[in-house]
Subunit: 219 residues, 2 copies
């Protein structure tokens, strides 16, 4: 999965498909920190983010968490338990106050059958997510935490070459995206600071040398 905010599902849909989605979806509001669904629950809904920010994550024990994705306006989630096993494979939580479009199992299946554009977009997004997951597995096997952190910072950064680039993310979020704890991330941030690839202050990373950062990430 990983971060999908650059892949807006909405943008690729025709206005006819969008109208269809809005006509069958219910809008549901979630407050900051509300859980949308828990891992291992039975899932019967497909969600599209209308506003806010949703985190997809898994946790084992109180201290170990892995964030798979932050989803924003136009991104979808919840399809996995409508297409595969009915059990939710990860948890979803509102990071900020959020509004979601909620589509039930039957309506979702109808959308799939009757709207080939919707289905094709779904396929393309799943392929991107699968590719990201497999790249993440590679990174975990072949790179150390420093390289993985550098890669995550590049992934989160607004797409521009004009330096400095500001990335709003704190150490805890970075640790959870990489699936580790704060201490090794803090150490890795200090290493990147020392070689002047980035600066870091209060939940804000400033990329000072993008080329160097990409090279550390093996990108």
């Amino acid at each position: 999965m990983t971060i999908l905010k650059k892949v807006s599902f909405f943008k690729k849909l025709s206005s006819k498909d969008l109208e269809k989605i809005f006509s069958i979806a219910k809008v549901k509001k979630f407050n900051k920190n509300d859980i949308v669904f828990h891992k291992s629950e039975i899932g019967n809904n497909f969600f599209v983010v209308q506003s806010g920010k949703i985190k997809i994550f898994t946790s084992i024990g109180p201290n170990k968490k892995k964030t798979f994705a932050f989803l924003e306006k136009g991104d979808f989630f919840g399809e996995m338990s409508l297409l595969g096993s009915k059990i939710r494979s990860a948890s979803a939580q509102a990071v900020t106050d959020s509004e979601l479009l909620v589509i039930g199992r039957l309506s979702f299946k109808k959308l799939l059958v009757k709207n080939p554009d919707f289905t094709l977009n779904l396929l393309q997004t799943l392929v991107i997510r699968l590719n990201n997951s497999d790249r993440e597995i590679e990174n975990m096997l072949f790179h150390n935490i420093l390289g993985r952190l550098a890669g995550k910072i590049v992934e989160f950064a607004p797409k521009t070459n004009k330096l400095p680039i500001i990335v709003n993310i704190d150490q805890n979020e970075l640790a959870e995206c990489i699936g580790t704890t704060r201490v090794p991330i803090c150490r890795a941030i200090n290493s990147l600071k020392k070689c002047k690839a980035i600066d870091y202050k209060r939940s804000e990373i400033t990329i000072l040398n993008l080329k160097q950062l990409k090279s550390i990430a093996n990108m």
Copy 2:
């Protein structure tokens, strides 16, 4: 991705869809060890395994390899560079002499649009693969090599509860599936032997205690 041999794409297709696939596909033969495609090449074909065994893998350097999947009769691959980036995200190689059905980009897109069952099956398989990849990421973060090895052995084993269960796989293949080298795998196999969960002789694992193996794998 990981191992998909239990998910046969063919079995779920209607005979109409199957006929369609056979009518537009070319059959191509590959000898043992032949490369079907290399990672980073531009990909224009979708493949379905008709006979034999195909390995999907990535490598960095001469000694580090990660096997994502072994694919057998009825499994497909190559869809990722037809639906997402055109660049192959992994390499494919024949493990044994194999026959593949080869479908070009245009025919593949036509199949998608005109055969909703084909598309739905593709979606379902991608969801299973994505789920497997995300579970693998979790395992890499939360389990040690012993647990991951135990999980892989269970994954490769024929689905039966009647002990002993024979699994034909050698240390090198196991090491590549986990993305590590032979030495730590050899050590982990010895640990599993010591606690009598398995026996291991010449490319053959015998599961002696499935319950214990699953418990070590946290399954």
